[in-house]
Symmetry: C2
Amino acid sequence: MNTDNQQERLQITEEFKWFLAGLIEGEGSLCISLKQHPSARFGYYIDPEFFIYQHKSARELLERAKEFFGTGRIFPKPGNEDVLVFRISARRSILEKVIPFFEKYMKYSSKTKKENFRVFKEVTLALENGEHKTLQGTLRIVELVYSTNHAGKQRKRSKEEVIGRILRDYTPNSESDSEKI
Amino acid sequence: MNTDNQQERLQITEEFKWFLAGLIEGEGSLCISLKQHPSARFGYYIDPEFFIYQHKSARELLERAKEFFGTGRIFPKPGNEDVLVFRISARRSILEKVIPFFEKYMKYSSKTKKENFRVFKEVTLALENGEHKTLQGTLRIVELVYSTNHAGKQRKRSKEEVIGRILRDYTPNSESDSEKI
């Protein structure tokens, strides 16, 4: 076995961080998932998530990423067991680990990825500020989410469908109701 | 200042090289293509090639790679025009640019990729030494090529098929023939 490899039980050097940034540029993604759920205030949970994908033969890279970020989970990609996914979905970790990493190490990223990050960060901060608790805020966040196309990948639902459902399910709160009486 | 123009334009820093190494880890590949051709001495041309793939929305990354290596070509991936390919196939460039880059910047690569590189380099050096000009050398190279599986990707032809064809097409040279008489 290559001792060089093992001995480097993750010395987190600047080199490694730039390498990781390049790997993430190719195999990583920042997504805002919209999960339809009856208990969500406006019908959807809005969750920022960070992923890195790798063929299972390179699991060690995901382990190193996990060690570096100090959080996250590795699991087989649903529908393709040959691919592994490393995911960070805890809002705190996204805010304190993922966003600062991207701020510093996206210097050489493509314009598309930089723009995608800008939106991802804006949505995460909006959620942190509780903007999703108002109808207005939720609609603004949905508009933001749909303003990037994630390098051509399509979402399951159109923006119109999501906004339509949010507005249809919306019932004014009891305070407004009582005002009407 | 009298430094290399290209370097100034690109700011080829160590950071950038590590970032590029990470990108290549995810989106790059080193391949030995075996191209069946009647004019090849043993039926196949054996060509080391280096590729980086990117969605067309990130063309600038391939342009930067091309500028950095100072050679290569960018073209749409046959069969999927949304993806661009950056390719270096000139043996000289593989020897003088690609291999030295990998030697230095693969430090954080997966074991699979390191092993793949080791074979790639061995085959390229064997070709450089003219080993493919003998039947023995060609067979050794084919064995080497099939000793890695490129992260699970399958080749079009099995090793047995390739070796079978090489041996079937092989006709002893006139010297051997005359010895038999």
